[in-house]
């Protein structure tokens, strides 16, 4: 008897609650301007084509390469985990390069092995140790994230195993004295200032608020970006990996009247952050780095993502027609962030194998003295393992897709 009553009460309570919300939903349009920040969205037109180097080295080589059947390249990085999509983009790019190589070179069938780190620094040492103990593996593409790269660099160093990261951008990674670490893209010491310039320049932001997460990547990039902003920086805040509620940060942002927010971190937190920011009435621009530039960001943030711009030291591979169509056939998806970087990094290693550099030591010195164009850019490293001429691109969300808007920060 009493139970029935309680159930009825529950139902009525719920109904009332819902009714209220919906009433509010209909009545309250156009009253949210009080807390809205100044400034609207600047629209930069999308880029439709990019130039590729005329003499780019391609994986297929001359078709006459020979190598032992045990020759193996490995990918170490996230295959699963909350930010797995970036890893998937990369190893599909590598797979494509190896497939093209093997199809053209009957005498040299390079094997490809993947090792899952989940993108987590505390889990990465196991799989990486496994990579270094397999004798057939002579070169590695990875690791994609900065934290795990920092945690595993010494293991590669001890094994004298060359590895090219297609995605890790924390500047301090090359300060460890490692001789086996090469970065296949610009670092955050390049990306941060470029992002700052992009926001205050092309995007016309007067007051920028920076929020960073607690990863090596987020902290490093947060610092270089705020240094670049100077007086346009109105506030900073820090959040944690795995955080889903950003209400306190958002209320500080609204009070600061910022017209642009830069989130230095990955999409798993960036997407709910942007979504909550917009639903609290933020009307400015949301800018994120390469860790946010993924379709997952749009998928999770929905319409809110329309205010988003991205900076990325990555090249829009989808604008290179030959690469785009081949990738699509392989992965059944458009090339994602770092697909072309993974492809190019694998190409550097494959070219070495084809040139007869088929031991760890030979391949390492091959990469060290490499000086050729790849499909995305020119590859030549300095003695620390940094690229000599990196580029940073700007991207935006348009009709539910991420499209490039051109090179920034120059």
């Amino acid at each position: 008897m009493y139970r029935k009553k309680v159930v009825t009460t529950l139902a009525i309570a719920a109904t009332l609650g819902m009714l209220m919300s919906s009433c509010a939903n209909q009545a309250g349009t156009g009253t949210s301007s009080d807390t809205a920040a100044a400034g609207g969205k600047v629209d930069i037109p999308a880029l439709t084509k990019i130039d590729t180097p005329a003499n780019a080295v391609l994986p297929k080589g001359d078709g006459n390469a020979t190598c032992p059947a045990t020759t193996t390249l490995a990918y170490a990085g996230a295959e699963t985990g909350p930010n797995a999509q970036l890893g998937i983009n990369i190893f599909n790019g590598i797979q494509l390069a190896i497939n093209e190589h093997n199809a053209a070179n009957a005498g040299c069938q390079v094997q490809f092995k993947k090792f899952d780190t989940e993108g987590d620094p505390s889990k990465a040492t196991g799989p990486v140790t496994q990579v270094t103990t397999e004798p057939g593996i002579i070169g590695v593409v990875g690791l994609p994230f900065s934290g795990e790269s920092k945690a595993t660099g010494n293991i590669f160093e001890q094994a004298k195993l060359v590895h090219i990261t297609p995605a890790a951008t924390n500047p301090t990674l090359t300060d460890n004295g490692w001789t086996t670490f090469f970065r296949g893209l610009g670092n955050d010491a390049v990306q941060g200032p470029a992002a700052a310039k992009f926001m205050t320049g092309k995007l016309g932001a007067k007051k920028v608020y920076i929020v960073q997460d607690d990863s090596d990547y987020g902290i490093g990039l947060g610092k270089t970006t705020s240094d670049g902003l100077g007086s346009a920086l109105v506030g900073t805040d820090k959040v944690t990996t795995g955080q889903k509620d950003f209400s306190a940060v958002i209320s500080k942002i609204m009070n600061s009247k910022a017209d642009a927010v830069f989130y230095s971190g990955y999409y798993a937190e960036g997407a709910p952050f942007d979504q909550q920011l917009v639903s609290k009435g933020f009307t400015g621009t949301f800018v994120g780095p390469d860790g946010l530039k993924d379709d997952q960001f749009i998928k999770q943030a929905g319409d809110s993502s329309n205010n988003a711009y991205f900076t990325c030291p990555c090249i829009p591979g989808e604008l290179i027609p030959s690469f785009e169509s081949a990738y699509k056939t392989l992965a059944n998806a458009e090339p994602g962030t770092y697909s072309i970087e993974g492809y190019d990094a694998a190409t550097v290693l494959l070219a070495g194998i084809d040139a007869g550099k088929q031991s760890r030591a030979d391949l390492l010195s091959w990469v060290k003295s490499y000086d050729k164009d790849g499909l995305s850019k020119h590859y030549k490293w300095n003695d620390k393992g940094e690229l000599q001429a990196p580029t940073v691109y700007g991207y935006k969300v348009e009709n539910g897709k991420i499209v490039p808007v051109g090179a920034i920060g120059e």
């Binding site: 529950l10 919300s21 309250g28 999509q85 209320s251 979504q275 639903s279 999770q300």
Partner: protein, 335 residues
């Protein structure tokens, strides 16, 4: 004195500093958001508290009971055509859709809670297993469910499902209270009051309290202990299902296999803070934990402090009152 002490704190970035000005500026919005989150904690905390009251068991799988509810909300609403963007539906349609999602989430969570009890705990009870075994089993069940979800749905969060666009209702000292916050707090509090009344007034509620007080005597007096245990788990599940709807309402992209874990730990902390085994304590603890975490993170300058502050207060309260703020157990509470 106090203010001079505070301003004399080193303001270097690497040092802990107290940003009183920011707290003053953001006090009300921190309060409203803290209460909103606190009510969600409280609803989940009830599940921990009820089960603890009856079985002296910390049901760590309760966070997965909650996340299954979140998935139920996600599937129901996306099946009904809700997506990342706020729907353009009539008032009645939204109400009906959300009610349906609420009911399905409640059923899904209650069913999960029931199955967890039958599969994981009942066999142990039959064998009179020591209490530690229950605890380890609970943690095992929690991970098992998490990774089953991950196998099926993958590691990424599900796409956002936005139920309605929060709109301002009124403002307090210049801070806007929106429809979403109001709905969550009011609906959650009504549900908790209803639960509390059910436990204290109904015949079944009396049974729950009797088993909590003294299972053997209660059985002798004609209370069916097994039935009471099932009902307790199911009530906890129903409330977790409701919490799931509010959680997805607040965080549309929060549906992820690990999504319940931290929230579950915090809800458990809320239950302990208020006095585990105490229904009113769960409500108080939940709201307090929500508020403290929010104030703390603004006072200390960034969100990385939310959990640190919340758990530090928990430790401090337990040092003074080891039984929690309200302390008395389910069996002895007069309510």
């Amino acid at each position: 004195m106090l203010s001079s002490l505070l301003t004399s704190m080193p303001m270097d970035n690497d040092w802990i500093s107290f940003d009183v000005v920011a707290l003053g500026q953001n006090f009300w919005s921190a309060t409203f958001d803290g209460l909103t989150f606190g009510s969600i904690y409280a609803l989940v905390a009830l599940g921990y508290t009820l089960v603890y009251g009856v079985l002296n068991l910390i049901n760590f799988a309760h966070s997965e009971v909650f996340i299954i509810g979140c998935y139920a909300v996600f599937f129901t609403l996306s099946g009904l055509g809700f997506g990342p963007n706020a729907p353009h539906l009539s008032l009645a349609a939204i109400v009906l859709n959300l009610l349906l999602a609420l009911i399905i989430a409640m059923i899904a969570s209650a069913l999960t809670a029931f199955l967890v009890e039958r599969i994981a705990y009942k066999p142990l009870r039959k064998r009179n297993a020591p209490r530690l075994v229950f605890l380890i089993t609970a943690i095992g069940v929690s991970f098992t469910i998490q990774y089953i979800i991950r196998l099926i749905r993958g590691p990424n969060a599900e796409p956002a499902v936005t139920m309605f666009k929060p709109t301002p209702i009124f403002d307090v000292f210049g801070t806007i209270v929106d429809s979403q916050q109001l709905v969550i707090v009011i609906a959650a509090v009504i549900m908790m009051v209803a639960t509390e009344r059910f436990i204290s007034k109904s015949r079944t509620g009396r049974g729950i309290r009797a088993v909590a007080q003294d299972p053997d005597t209660a059985t002798l007096m004609g209370v069916n202990k097994e039935r009471i245990i099932i009902i307790t788990f199911v009530i906890g599940g129903i409330l977790a299902g409701a919490a799931a709807l509010f959680y997805v309402m607040k965080i549309p992209s929060g549906v992820q296999y690990t999504g319940g874990f931290v929230l579950g730990i915090k809800a458990f902390a809320a239950a302990v803070l208020g006095g585990i085994g105490n229904v009113r304590g769960a409500l108080l603890g939940g709201l307090l934990l929500g508020l403290i975490g929010n104030y703390g993170q603004i006072l200390l300058g960034n969100s990385q402090w939310t959990d640190v502050v919340a758990f530090m207060v928990l430790v401090l309260v337990l040092l003074v009152r080891p039984e929690g703020i309200l302390g008395t157990s389910l069996g002895r509470s007069k309510a």
